[in-house]
Structures are given as C-alpha cells and as structure tokens.
Symmetry: C2
C-alpha cells in the first residue's frame, strides 16, 4: 500500500429503522460507497436494531459495486427494518449493554442509525453508554422519515418523494374526475399518510394553485374536523367547478378527539380500525349531498413509489449517508447530518452536522402559517417550503420486461461470536 | 391549393365514452393529428355522447398543434366523458333521431366513438339509423377500456398502462413489506379494479415469478372466494417467506354470489358499498391469523397514472385513433380498428378493421387456462399474453415544478344550430 491505511480492524455498522421509504436505500448506498472509498468495512444490521441485539449482522462487503449502486434506485429497506423502540436506559440497561457487547465483539467503531427521532435518541444513548462502559464508539444518526417531523433538519429524506407521489397522483386522479363529473363521480377523496402531522397532505396542494384547481379541500390533523364546514365547501366547489377533489390525512379527528376513521367504518367483525378515513368522508358526502364519489387509499404505494421519486429527495438521501460516514471518520460523535436550506428559489441546500440531543425525541410541527385561514388549503409560505422538495425526476433503469430493475441484496450473514440474547 | 382537397364542409365528430384511461387522450391525438393531415376538421362532443345529444360540440381546430401533441401524454378525457348508455332503438328512437339531426346540422360525415362494447353498439346503431334516415354517415368504433374485455381485439388500449401500474406497485409495495415483516406488517393487500373480469389482477402477477415472489396470492372474480383455502395459503406463505402480498379484484364474490366487499364493511351510516374488499380481507387475516396487515386501494390512481404508462399501450392507443380516421376517410363504416397480435416474443402487432357487430355488447372473458389450478395465480400462458402489454416506458415531459406537463384544452364551443333537446 502506498499510504498508511486506516486500521483494517475497525468496522462500521449501519442499521435502518422504522417505516421504510422510496429512498432510504439511496442513503445506504451513500454510506457504503463512501466507506468503501475510505477503505472501511460496513456491516448492516438485519431488520434494524433487532439485528444488532440478536447479533444478526450482514457483511455488505459481499455485495458487488453494481449492486450497491443499484441501491440508489431501489425502494424499501435492503437489509430489513423494524418497529422497535429501546426502552429508557434505566428500564432496560441490559439491552444497551448487549448492544455494546455486540459492537465490541465485531470491533465496530462507528454506528450509523438511519431513522427518525426515536432512532436519534437510541444513537445518542449508545454513544453515552459506550463512553460509560469504556468502549470507544462513534454514533451518527442519519435522517429518514416520510413524516417530515424531525427537528433541526429543513426536511427529511423520504418525504420529498412521497410528496411528489401525492402531488402527481392528486393531479392525475383529478383529470380523471373532471372527465367523469357530468354523469358520474363528482367527489374524489384521496387518503394519505400522516397520523399526527399534515406534511404529506400539504404536499398535495402543489398539484394546483387557485380556488378552482385541485385539490379543492385538504384535511389536516392539525385542525379539528368541522363536518358542516367540510360539507359546505364540497357543495360550493361542486356547484362552481363541477367536481371536487379532497385530500385527507389519515389522522384527522373530530371535536371529541376521536380519529374520524375509528368513529366511522367497522370491519366485517365489528372492529374499528385506522386507515380508512376516506370511506367515512365519502359516506358523509353521499349522505349529506348525494354526490357520486370515489376514494383511494394508496397506503404503502405512496412511500415505496421509487418510480416517481423526487430528484431533490434522492440526492439528499444519498448526501446524508455520505456525510454520516465522513463525520464518523472525522471522529465526530452523537451528531446527525441535517439538511440546511439557504434559498427557496433557486433552491439551495447543504449538509451540516447537528447535535443528536437537539433532535432526539422531538417533533417538528407544521408551522401555523402554512395553513389557510379556513384550514382547507396551503398558503404561499407552505408552497415556498414544499415546492423545491418535489423538483426533479430521479431516472430509473427499466428491464425489457417493463419493470424497474430493483436490486436484491445477497445479505450474507457474519458469523456470530456471542451467545444468544433474549430481549 | 396544389391538389384537389377533400370538401371543406364534411366534418368528423369524436366522442369519448365511459371510464377514462391514462392513454385515451393519446387516441384523441391520433384522431386529430391524422384528420388534420388529411385536411378534415374534427369536432369533439363535450362529455361524450351527451354532448352530441345536447349539441354541445367543441371545435378542436381552435387548439394548437402543440396542445394536440401534448394530449399524447395527458391522462383523463380531454373533452369529458360520460356514463350514459343509449336505450334500444325501439325504446328510444327519439334519441337516435336527435343524434342524426345534430350530425346533419353540423355536416358531420364521420362519427368516431371511443369506448367499450356499449359504445360499439351505439356506433353500430347510428350507422344503421343514418342509412334508414337517408343521412350519409360513417361510424367507427375506437377501442378503449382498462377492463380489457372487448371482443375481437387482442387487447384494449388503456389496459396495458393500468397493468403496468399494478405490476410495478405490487413490486414496490412488496419490497416495503419485506423490510417491515419482522416486527410489523406481514400481510399486504392491494385491491384493484375489475368487477367482472380479473385482467388487472392477473397483471399483478407480472411483478414476480415463482412461489416465493410477490404477489403470492391473486384473487380473481372468475373464482368463488374460498375463505379456508385463502387463509391457509396466507399462513403457509408467511411461514415460508416471512410475509405475503395479496392482490384482490374488487369484484370477488363468496359462494352465495355476494360481493365480498358488500358482505363485509359497512360505512358510518350502516350502508354497504363496493370498493372495499381489501379491508374485508385484512380483517379476515387479522381475525384468523393475527397477523399485522396493511391494505391499499388505488382506485382512480391506477387508471390515470400516465406517469407510469406502458409504451406498448400508449403506442396502440395512438395507432387505433390514427387508423380510425384512415378507415373513416376510406368510406369504411361500422368497423373498429382492433389490435392483432402476430407474435408474443418478440411482440408484434398490427391494426386491422373488425366489424362492429362482432364486438357490440359482447364481453371477452379471461381464458380458463390463464389461472393456476388453485385459482391464486397466473399460468405461463397468461404471462405470455400479458408480458408484452407492459413493456416499454412512455416518457413524459416534467416542468421545473416537478409535475408532469399535462395539457388543458381550451374546449371552444361550436355555435348551436338546433333547439334544445330534452332527453
């Protein structure tokens, strides 16, 4: 070797956490390609932090360069993710100690945790405990969430693509409804993700501008659902425009604080379940106004639609992965690469480190001035913020079969060195 | 003018019918561009056949060449469509006579009706009545339907794009579910259109091949829903693969012949409604197996998703429009340009005329040998038929705002020449 290389023994561990996105694997590609360029080996935890607890590690060194490059355009979580929140240090110190044991057993010196505010908290705690236990570990949080609710960062990788999917779908379905409204569907309701915050619903507002352009009504979890005002606005819109497109956050609630979805539809067994506010609204429209309606609930389709990803989002997802490795190798600890916006138009952004303790367990709310006074639309301020996030397309290779060429990792397991751990 | 032009007085009328598609406007572009090349003026009926009855005609000559070209990539129905089936000649001869009156008043010599088997029937009747009433009119049916159920033609423009949307969405959502299955969603259910025939559901089968590839289970309206067999297959799949993707046609029925959607979910007011078989299946899975689930119902999103159109489909949609004009100007009558397949791989097709009386009011069923013995998947024969229809991408211009550049017609009205008609 020509120059003094980094010690071959120190490894990096990368884990994905929580709901996956259309671009979280672009972050993985940023991590692995950057680490490879620095001669550092990357292990991935199988199914997120659970893989670290179970010592189920994947050797990403077994994947070809072409496969890692293809991660840049493959949705879902290539190594698996999980919904598993570690308890507090006091409540379950054994879990944290186990994590340190696994890191130590595999000589892992850098831990990159790709998730939301829970994950930032976990990464922070591991960095603190490592210090307390005398194990030298650098922990970097890497941002990801379609909910766009992380503190400090201007936006979250994953959000821009679901925002673009939602805006384009709203536009396309509205062209359909406009064609049919004379004799058929007059009201179309699109239900989108967002239990606590209306970021995704807000993005649908980019589909059009002006009173007569779709979506005509957006329902946000930030506002109490006002049935009378909603019905009145649907009626006025249909009478003026001929039809009406409504976009509803799954998490809207009535004045009693009940999720509208739970207050309404029951399944075949009489159970209530979340994830169906659209049919409740549709039934309301039918009952009160008699209009024909259609409703859609794209669910996972919205967050896995890599075929319609935003270039801005895909670029940022890759950039945070790259920066995370650079920070780690610069011996930074307990930080997260965040997106800093310096200009709306032309859109300019850069990546900077932010302390995990400013991010862990916090939640970014939508600013009050993003919603119009009647609560059914977005303001110019919201447009300025949202517009750049859906800009640009992120081309995808398609096969001769007409399907995107998504990659499947080999996911070769690293031999275990520790006894089983029951958590 | 250098050569003898076609008489300037004869006009062509184009109307869209029934549910619109991602590519019906490509057919409109084929019609208008071809007619313009022949020096023939095209009127469009506003909102389908109702526009012809109401004498609400649109002068497409007022649209720029660029706008017409942009129709090739704009979903929905640019001039409006309708769900309106003319009664039989005996039951409502006045309606047919009114149509002839409107055609005569505007010197319309060619009528192109873009729709399904109902529309083929209407076009056929008008051609017959024109003859009986001494008015010289050529009627051409132009195929369109996402349901792919037209007789004679190998496939229907509109179907290939919804097929591609469904296959890609199945693949993408499955990558998501695979990531989450360890601790969260184990069963994902995608509900697709298809009240009477499972063509769209079948297309989801192109997402993967082999027992372990998604979709693991497809539910077709061609088979009675067998709850025990379904639950057993979900369980076996989750135990073997770790998760399970189900694609269900909206129109599946139980042994009593009830739509499963109606047998299950009721809305807030206790009404049943079609369009929600996915939540019924999800509840069943939860009740019988206890697995976490997610479900999606893309509804209009699937048939308006021009951003994910199939090139094969977009090309065929344009070609039938072009051919329809050529047939009309060759004085052919009561025919439809249909797609004839001469080879599966490489895929080869051409357009040929077929008599409307072979198409009107008939329905093409899915061949029995397209479904696997257990009724939960598609056969190699189905793959050979379906695969070419989703091949190729149909690029779309995007604006700097990150949205597709869809066109809005000016839709300039033609002055009325007749008194009102009440139908």
């Amino acid at each position: 070797m020509k120059s003094k290389a980094r010690p071959a023994t120190g490894r990096m561990l990368y884990a994905q956490s929580g709901g996956v996105t259309a671009v979280i694997n672009a972050t993985a590609a940023g991590v692995i390609q950057t680490a490879r360029a620095h001669g550092v080996k990357v292990y991935a935890a199988r199914n997120g932090i659970l893989g670290a607890l179970r010592e189920e590690l994947i050797d990403t060194g077994k994947e070809t360069a072409a496969a890692i490059e293809a991660l840049r355009h493959t949705p879902g979580g290539a190594f698996g993710s999980c919904r598993y929140k570690l308890k507090s240090l006091d409540a379950n110190r054994a879990e944290y100690e186990r994590l340190i044991d696994v890191l130590r057993a595999h000589d892992i010196r850098w831990f990159l945790y790709n998730g939301g505010n829970d994950s930032a908290d976990t990464a922070l705690k591991i960095s603190q405990l490592g210090k307390a236990m005398g194990y030298d570990i650098r922990c970097i949080g890497v941002p990801k969430t379609v909910d766009n609710d992380l503190a400090v960062t201007d936006c979250c990788p994953g959000f821009g693509s679901v925002a673009k999917y939602t805006a384009v779908s709203t536009l396309e379905a509205s062209l359909d409804v406009a064609s049919m409204a004379d004799t058929s569907t007059k009201v179309f309701i699109l239900e989108v993700m967002g239990r606590h915050a209306g970021w995704i619903a807000a993005a649908s507002g980019l589909a059009g501008e002006g009173e007569d352009a779709p979506p005509h009504i957006i329902l946000f979890p930030e506002r109490v659902f006002d049935e009378a005002a909603f019905i009145a606005k649907v009626k006025a819109t249909v009478e003026r425009v001929g039809w009406c497109t409504v976009v509803a956050s799954e998490g809207i609630r009535n004045a009693e604080g009940q999720f509208l979805a739970e207050a309404g539809t029951r399944d075949a067994f009489g159970h209530t379940q979340l994830g169906g506010v659209a049919p409740v609204l549709a039934a309301l429209v039918k009952e009160e106004l008699g209009y024909k309606y259609h409703w859609a609930l794209p669910d996972y389709l919205q967050r896995s639609a890599r075929h319609l990803a935003s270039k801005t989002d895909a670029d940022q997802a890759y950039a945070v992965g790259k920066a995370a490795v650079e920070y780690a190798l610069k011996d930074m600890n307990a930080v997260m690469p965040v997106i800093v916006r310096s200009s709306d138009a032309p859109y300019r952004w850069k990546i900077e480190p932010a302390s995990l303790d400013k991010i862990a367990n916090r939640e970014k709310k939508m600013p009050a001035n993003f919603l119009t006074r009647d609560g059914f639309g977005i303001t110019a301020a919201a447009r300025r913020y949202l517009a750049p996030l859906i800009q640009g397309e992120a081309p995808l290779p398609y096969g001769r079969d007409g399907l995107p060429k998504y990659v499947q990792m080999k996911n070769v397991a690293v031999a275990k060195r520790l006894p089983e751990f029951s958590h």
